[in-house]
Amino acid sequence: MSHTYVLVGQPNCGKTTLYNWLTGSNYKTVNYPGSTIEYSIGQIDLKHGTNKTFVDTPGTYSLIPKSPDEIVTSQVLYDNELTKQAHGLLVIDGLNLERQLTMVYQMKDAGIDFSIVVTMIDLLKAQNTQIDFLALSKELGVAIYTFNGQTGEGIGKIIAGLPLTAQEKPRKKISWSYLDFQRARINAMETIDKVIRRTNTNDVYGFTKKLDSWFLGGFGFVFFFLIMTLLFASLFWFSTPFSDVIEAGFGYISAQIEAKFPDSFLATFISQGIVSSFAAILVFVPQILFLFLGLGFLESSGYLPRAAALIDHPLQKMGLGGRSFVPLLSGFACAIPALMATRNISSKRDRFITSFIIPMMSCSARLPVYGLLLLFLFPNNSLLVGFVFAGLYFLALVLGAVASLVLSKFVKPSKDQFFMMELPLYRRPRFRIIIKQALQKTRSYVTRAGPVILAFAVLLWLGAQFPRIENKTPDLADSYIGQLGRIMEPVFKPMGVDWRVGVGLISAFAAREVFVSTMAVTFKVTADESQQEHDLLAIMNEAKFADGSKIFTVGSVLGLIFFFMIALQCMTTVATQIRESGSKRFALGQLAILNIVAYVGAVAINQIYRIFFM
């Protein structure tokens, strides 16, 4: 029989580090309050034993929940069938022992069976603080274990002390008044006074405060912009060679398959339908990986909550708050983890607005689309393309700000709006964990978004191959996909594009990046991946409507760029939004509003260009 144990504690107290040591997994552990946004379940690491299950919960300041992540913890403790009788492991940050003891009294009031694990033992030593844990355990009437997250010291004793019986008496939900808090705090102070001995205490915050005088001082925003610019610039510097290798590798495999079986439909299906679709997914992996590495580094070092605090005031002007910063920043890599990160925002209103504008942040999937369209606008001027590219990121922020401002006028302020960001100590980032977590999140992106993209891309390819005419691939215009594009052409025409681009836009609903490869199919580019963009640009320059007028003008291309900036095309994002918001109405409303605004904007840009510049 397996026994279950629930890890509970305040944000950033070291719960997830303990969970990693107990289970051997490396789930998310970061130096940022509120990093665990879902609870996770893991089996005990086999080297420590068997038949023990651990549940890691999001940090909570008390058992009276005030934000969605705290509600998750409350549900684990009270409602979840698997865990509502499980023994609790209350994890307490040794440096904040006195304050976090409040949770001990709450757990006792709630009638929860639990033991205490005190973490940050290394920092207590560095601070010259000695605590008599045996006496503390007697005072509180609860078993106490100590644990060093850096070395794993203490893990054996914790496991040996785990009870093998489930709680039988029911738990009760508590409601505390100010007097209860005050009483708990006084009790904690008296208890700690009895068991603590400080000799020549070192101020562990000394170094942190010194760094904060720079990072949060008069030049705080200069550092902020430098760090964020460095993060995004390095993202492109580091990822480009890897993306190139992936692209070239898959191009080579496709070519080899087709060369070996020149007349086989199956071989063409594998080469063009499957291998190329895999390439479309994997080509973004380096960028996403490097973004997660960068964010992991900033989180682990302790800078990210400070960045959120710095940007809080400007974001308030936009109707948001500092806690929206990390989700919005993550949105530049991928909207899916960004939407999940909104659970950390306590205010319903801020969460609503943030999750609404996240899809407007320029995620990695838009990059090849922007690349193609900007190269069309500024051929042979890569420097200008680079500048405009950066400008599009900035424009995404501005458009997001405008959307947020508009939404904040319609959405009433909620009573749960507060910021109060704890600033953790600056600590040396643990690269091994950062790398493992970045790999884990990247894998999660590939497994969540990958199948949808792959299925849609394969479907599109098949749509272009059927109905077979004399057992041969039909002309694209006669294929199913071509027929669909032609039916919808009246919708695309006001944007200044024909059915072929329309097919590209439809295909982008699988994943935006599919647009470029679909355009290559609809415009009959036969070159391999490395030549594809060059040939496609040449064909785009010559592409004409039936009346002889050019399809790709500055107006229509600017309209397409605007469309891609605003439109919510990623179906995986919509599915995530439904799950995160718990409302199909909200997710589908967002889908409709963003796409209508994108369409109307693209039409307006094209029509204005036609009227004034043609």
Binding site: N96, R99, G217, D416, F418, F419, M420, L423
Partner: protein, 72 residues
């Protein structure tokens, strides 16, 4: 009251904020109670949050949150 940085203050009272009662509750959660000695470290640029520290607290508070702490 003009706040001086880097000098200790005592929390006289934690004021209720009618528009948002959760602010007061969260201040309790963070360990702010009457009689606690705190240091106002600084205020972030451009009217940003205040940084307040106490023996076990190092936290950034928005102006409206900071104003809930009646300091002396």
């Amino acid at each position: 009251m003009v706040i001086e940085f880097n000098r200790p203050y005592k929390i006289q009272k934690i004021l209720k904020y009618e528009n948002n009662v959760e602010i007061t509750d969260r201040l309790y959660d963070l360990g702010f109670v009457e009689g606690l000695e705190v240091v106002v470290e600084k205020r972030m640029p451009l009217g940003g949050p205040w940084i307040v520290s106490a023996p076990m607290i190092y936290v950034a508070l928005r102006d409206e949150e900071f104003k809930r702490l009646e300091l002396k």
